[in-house]
């Protein structure tokens, strides 16, 4: 208990789907607030209301970082807004000890007409810092944001990257939090700046309790020592090991199948096989490093043609990770006769990082590049491992002789 800085018990929040009703409920809530009644009607849902966050419990000690993961609309940001005191819980209780800092909505309150320098002072006082303190730190902020040449120009002349850098610099340099909230702050800016931000955030986190919201699982696995997976406002999993939480999150991802093309070719199926054994279950889990093959069934409906077949493995954010160039044995483009074809393609060792993947297969005319058939989201599969690595491809363990 001594060093528990954040304690959340039975926290719930409801939202309303209909705008008109939401406005009217707002009026009612203000009325009952003035009469001194409890907020949230003791958990009764009115028409068109739903639980945006339901019964969340956790504690965070100093030096710990809790990763909040889940889909859009799972309640991550709502939870963070309650923790930050912007909106009130309908049920439950939040207790926090120490100074709260948040890297959320960087640059909110910037006035485009005023100069960067003026905006630094304004933004700082919105964050509760006085002028003397900012005077001491202003050079550090300007250097961090890398905008010394533009600091006396109006913010409306800044590029979007410069605005983000300035917003981040003001917040990150000035706060000295015991409790830190981070909401997708590292998703912006160019790569050099992101790395700089990561280092700053790591310094800030060292001695604080941190709640970290991100869709970037690599950052979650790197930063957090615990993960809370949210789905539809509820806790799906509270994992002491973030890679376990990341696995649970990937389980939630649905790779939707989608086909397109001229119809002169069809992709009938794609199945995985391990040890010459077809895997029949949907969304199979493969152990990292296992050897596997893909069995593709194609149907050629039209005249003979030369076709390139494209085989790609994509990750959960639809980024192509692996591509398998295919050709005829003599190196030429394959010539297909009308009818059904089955191709067995060895994939080698699946040394992908733990996560959720799917295939894209396309039949493309060699000369005209017309896509005759293209299917995505095929044969979604998961790769499981004991830990989540910071890399898309995980090579076998290398033993180093001492």
């Amino acid at each position: 208990m001594e060093d528990t800085l954040i304690k959340v018990e039975g926290l719930s929040k409801k939202f309303c789907r209909s705008l008109k009703k939401s406005m009217w409920y707002g009026m009612q809530d203000i009325g009952s607030e003035i009469l001194g009644r409890r907020h949230g009607l003791d958990g009764v849902l009115r028409q068109d209301e739903f639980w945006a966050v339901k019964d969340i419990n956790f504690e965070i000690k100093r030096g710990e970082c809790l990763g909040l993961i889940g889909h859009n609309g799972a309640g991550k940001t709502t939870l963070l807004r309650m923790l930050n005191g912007l909106i009130r819980p309908d049920q439950g209780r939040i207790e926090m000890r120490g100074k709260v800092g948040a890297l959320i909505a960087l640059g909110a309150g910037f006035n485009p007409i005023l100069t960067g320098r003026e905006n630094i002072y304004i933004n700082a006082s919105v964050l509760g810092m006085n002028k003397q303190y900012v005077d001491k730190k202003i050079d550090e902020i300007i250097d961090f944001a890398e905008i010394r040449d533009f600091i006396n120009a109006p913010v409306q002349t800044y590029s979007s990257g410069m605005k983000v850098r300035l917003g981040f610099a003001v917040a990150a340099i000035l706060i000295e939090p015991d409790i830190l909230f981070l909401d997708e702050v590292l998703a912006v800016g160019d790569i050099n700046f992101v790395i700089k931000c990561l280092n700053t955030v790591r310094d800030l986190s060292k001695n604080a309790s941190v709640v970290f919201v991100s869709h970037n699982m690599q950052q979650v696995s790197m930063f957090c020592n615990r993960a809370l997976v949210l789905e539809k406002g509820c806790v799906l999993a509270d994992c002491a090991n973030p890679s376990e939480g990341i696995d649970r999150y990937f389980e939630l991802i649905k790779h939707t199948q989608h086909t397109s093309g001229t119809g002169k070719a069809e992709i009938l199926s794609l199945e995985l096989s391990v040890n010459n054994q077809l895997i029949k279950n949907t969304e199979p889990a493969l152990v990292q490093g296992i050897e596997a093959s893909a069995i593709i069934s194609l149907r050629m409906n039209d005249f003979n043609y030369q076709a390139n077949i494209l085989l790609i493995v994509r990750d959960e954010s639809l980024i192509p990770i692996m591509v398998f160039p295919l050709s005829h044995q003599n190196g030429e483009t394959r010539y297909f006769l009308p009818g059904d074809h089955t191709l067995e393609i060895p994939l080698g060792n699946i040394d992908l990082n733990s996560g959720s993947y799917s295939f894209v297969v396309a039949v493309i005319d060699r000369d005209s590049k017309i896509v005759h058939a293209r299917a995505e989201g095929l044969c979604a599969f998961r790769v499981t491992a004991n830990s989540h690595f910071w890399g898309k491809i995980v090579r076998p363990v290398v033993a180093i002789d001492s």
């Binding site: 939401s22 006035n111 005023l114």
Partner: protein, 283 residues
């Protein structure tokens, strides 16, 4: 280790612990001062930096209004009863003072609406917005008053000792304006109808206040003018400014006392309502 500040959020009504609430109100008000000042400087400098005429805009509208009314009375389109002051001065001071009241009245809703983005994402003392609105009105009023004084002296009206009391008149205009504006703010944030209705209603109310018309002597208008709580504000402020002795001092004082009490109550309501409103604003 030094004592850490404990923050607790629950669904309990903030009114369930009035002492704690009052302490927080005081603390937030003190915390708000510098932020309010910065917001005021931000808004005013941004506002004036984008204009050519700058602070002259503070008087252009009242001045135009004055000219319209002088024209109407000279041409005989409207028949106006005699005013104690020369009519141009009467209507000039009236519209200026009315403009100050309107500034104060519009400020809370305007400030909060303009800061929606910040409110939805950053936790800062919400009282700062109100304070900044008052500061802005005050600065704009001082510009107006300065130009008004120059105008008055140019027109041959020399103020007497009453001018020393005029700041009280100015403060009460801002006070009452803020009270009305603050009362409309919570509803106005949810329903934009309020913001649209204000100019209409206030225009109407202006004609029931001795701004461009003199106090009617008899009939229903006389009763309405007498009852209108804005009447003593405008009359008293104008009297102090132009060297007359105020007639409605008792009513003036009672309006102010009631407004101070209302301001306090409305401030509490504003604080209670803000989290609910921010939730409905979305982010």
């Amino acid at each position: 280790m030094n004592e850490l500040r404990v923050t607790i959020y629950t669904p309990e009504s903030m009114l369930s612990n009035p002492l704690k609430m009052l302490r927080e109100m005081l603390r937030d008000l003190i915390d708000s001062r510098e932020l309010a000042w910065r917001l005021m400087v931000r808004d005013l400098s941004a506002q004036y930096r984008q204009t050519l005429l700058g602070f002259l805009w503070a008087i252009i509208l009242p001045l135009a209004n004055t000219l319209v009314w002088i024209f109407l009375s000279r041409s005989g389109v409207v028949n106006l009863s005699d005013t104690p002051l020369p009519y141009p001065i009467y209507v000039f001071t009236g519209t200026m003072l009315w403009a100050i009241l309107m500034d104060a009245l519009n400020a809370p809703l305007q400030m909060v609406t303009a800061s929606k983005d910040m409110l939805a994402k950053i936790n800062f003392p919400r009282d700062a917005l109100l304070l900044a609105g008052i500061y802005k009105t005050l600065v704009n009023s001082l510009i107006k008053i300065a130009l008004l004084m120059i105008g008055l002296i140019a027109l041959g009206i020399y103020p007497n000792w009453g001018i020393l009391l005029f700041p009280i008149g100015l403060f009460s205009l801002i006070l009452v304006g803020t009270v009305v504006g603050l009362a409309l703010t919570p509803v106005g944030l949810l329903y934009t109808d309020v913001g649209k209705a204000i100019p209409l209603l206030m225009q109407f109310l202006m004609y029931l206040t001795p701004v461009v018309f003199a106090m009617p002597k008899e009939g229903l208008p006389a009763i309405l003018f007498q009852l209108n709580p804005l009447t003593p504000l405008i009359l008293t402020a104008r009297d102090w400014l132009t060297g007359f002795t105020p007639e409605y001092l008792v009513y003036f004082i009672s309006v102010n006392v009631i407004s101070i009490i209302l301001l306090f109550i409305l401030w509490i309501i504003y604080r209670l309502a803000m989290p609910i409103l921010i939730e409905r604003m979305g982010s």
